[in-house]
Subunit: 395 residues, 2 copies
């Protein structure tokens, strides 16, 4: 009854769903206040007031037919120009509205790129640990995932492994910076090295290898850390951006794709991804939301909120003896499991009402992901439970 | 550089884009008021005020984090329940929220169904003339389109041809009712016959054959015409619905999919399409819009507006001697080209500043589509031009 593809997706997605359902069941049993659910990446920093005001003003002042109507599949030209201007100002680029395609979130942006470039059995290279949904997005278009190892403990990519993994079938490489789930930021050195390897491989195999920079966590960088803008180092780079985390509006599905002017035949590609937006069934990014985010490009939710959580949790856990990758961005903390099989550790954590996600979900067994986009109060109340857990493992 | 699939889509989509661009260029040359663009299905009846009020009230009264936040990939349970209640009341059904998946428009709904059911080289049967985007949606999932002929001049499907075209590879059948582009409504008799043939074929080939009822034009039915609800006749029916035309909000990408309780293993299927919503990159239907349409389920834009256009144009064109299918629904009129090659006719119409769409776009050469979702004033001003054209063809 179901397609083979769908059966694969259902199998793949069962791990996280199982976790979520278990947390819900536990909450029903022992009370929500006694469950410490660190599983989901759901933003909790308040939505900026300017976004709410922008929505109301647009609805009250604009003609409703054009506010909610069809536009070019790539989005409203003036919205695209506003995004281009914003990026030019911040990152010293030379974009126009034609380089920007408004999308149904970053997930929509990545899928239209794959639609445009992937033939059956083309390879897409990803860096472990990585967001598990990439597997689905690649399999939608019948591509194949190729995994590159990280350096431990820095969690920067192992560049010699990267170089080994690229061959004539490689069509694209995804970097997610800052990284979900590790929380690290790939440095300018790392990105320049990736670019140099790709340039060499493009020449060797005589076809484009596209870099897809997936950047929903771009604004969530702490201690003044820089997240370099990758199109500067490598012309064949797509940038997929989402406002979900920046403005705390993940349900609205609004983002954009950058097709930079130095990409090979960029106009043809910009046209292709714009047609892909339509034929993939997205048609266009939601119209009201396009206009609303265009008015809030300089806005951010309260990043300091997540930063406080980060310090609180990182300091407490490392003090207890847990080993954590030092998180520089995102709202995730990637912790080494005190026993090799992290599924056992996740199960024991659950006995203390702590809901964590196993690293295997991110192709990185032996680790767990802790999402600290939660109330500081819940983190405080969870610490005694983590302490009990540390004691069980004699840390 | 571009995938084979994408090259196919670009080739396929060039006809309509070319038409649109030509209309724009003509408007720049001779003034927009002298161009009679009947090419696009862009709603122009005013957005109901209650929809605007619902948006403002939601934004002002609801907590912004939950209003714009993640929910289940299938949508907010209370929104899904409201849709179920509405459909139960109107069509005497027995749906609960679990039978409703909120989607990114009807296009999103159709794509998640295909994702869930289509294996490579499965057949999808469509009835000529049909909405050309079905070709893209089927090719996204590597299925193949199989076309069934219409009866002329009624434009009801040729049911013996339908029966002949179904074989062991048939996984799904799409009906679009009322039909874009012909404007006809498939009668209850037709639908019961389609159901009976499918029941027989399911038994013969021992697997499910799904009917996908694509119903964005459901509310656009005139002279009290009924659009039967297909799940009553055939249990393995998905219904894809969009609010784009009903509320004149096509840019917002909001609709839903019905997985009826009599479908084989409906719960498994409802879960699969809900996961498909996520893995296809839609994630969920836009959150604010979900809540807004839930408050406007009984609302419609001013259908009488389109009805007046329909009568005005149909009466005038048939009086001039053109042959038109009698339109019962949608906002399209399907007219026989006075010469066999309708591309020539479209070109001659353009010399009179009339922008029409060739029937070949809908797999129906020899006809043209005229979208009358335009101002009545433009229709009035276009009539002398149609009259000139009729004279050229000695009608």
């Amino acid at each position: 009854m179901l397609s083979k593809q769908m059966l694969y997706n259902l199998e793949n997605s069962s791990a996280i769903r199982k976790m979520f359902i278990e947390g819900q069941e536990m909450a029903a049993r022992v009370g929500a206040e006694n469950v410490f659910d660190f599983s989901l990446g759901n933003p909790v920093a308040p939505v900026p007031e300017s976004f709410t005001n922008a929505l109301i003003d647009l609805i009250k002042s604009e003609d409703s037919l054009s506010l909610h109507g069809y536009m070019n599949n790539a989005g409203y030209p003036e919205v695209r120009q506003a995004v281009a201007d914003h990026l030019n100002r911040r990152f010293d680029l030379e974009l126009t509205f034609e380089n920007i395609i408004m999308t149904v979130g970053a997930a929509g942006a990545i899928n239209i790129v794959f639609k445009a470039i992937l033939d059956v059995e083309d390879d897409v290279v990803v860096f472990r640990p990585y967001f598990g949904e990439y597997r689905s997005y690649v399999s939608n278009w019948h591509g194949r995932i190729v995994e590159v190892d990280p350096q431990i403990p820095s969690f920067q990519p192992d560049l010699s492994d990267f170089e080994r993994k690229i061959d004539g079938r490689t069509k694209a490489v995804i970097i997610n910076n800052p990284v979900n789930p590790s929380g690290v930021i790939y440095s300018e050195d790392t990105l320049r090295s990736i670019a140099a390897i790709l340039e060499k491989k493009q020449q060797e195999y005589r076809h484009e290898i596209y870099l897809i920079a997936d950047e929903p966590y771009r604004e969530l960088a702490y201690d003044g850390a820089e997240v370099p803008y990758v199109t500067k180092f490598y012309p064949n780079t797509f940038v997929a951006y989402s406002f979900s985390k920046t403005l705390s509006i993940p349900g609205e599905r609004i983002g954009y794709l950058v097709v930079p002017p130095k990409m090979t035949k960029w106009q043809e590609m910009a046209n292709a991804v714009s047609v892909a937006n339509r034929v993939c069934g997205y048609i266009n990014a939601p119209s009201l939301l396009q206009k609303a985010v265009a008015r809030c490009l300089e806005e951010k939710c309260d990043i300091a909120f997540y930063d406080r959580n980060r310090k609180l949790l990182y300091n407490a856990l490392t003090e207890m003896g847990f080993e954590c990758v030092k998180p520089e961005g995102t709202f995730y903390l990637f912790m080494k499991s005190p026993e090799e099989n992290e599924h056992n550790f996740v199960a024991r954590a659950k006995e203390h009402n702590l809901i964590l996600v196993s690293g295997s979900t991110f192709a990185m067994p032996g680790y767990v992901r802790i999402a600290y986009c939660v109330s500081p109060d819940m983190i405080q109340r969870s610490l005694p439970r983590f302490r009990e857990l540390a004691a069980e493992y004699h840390l």
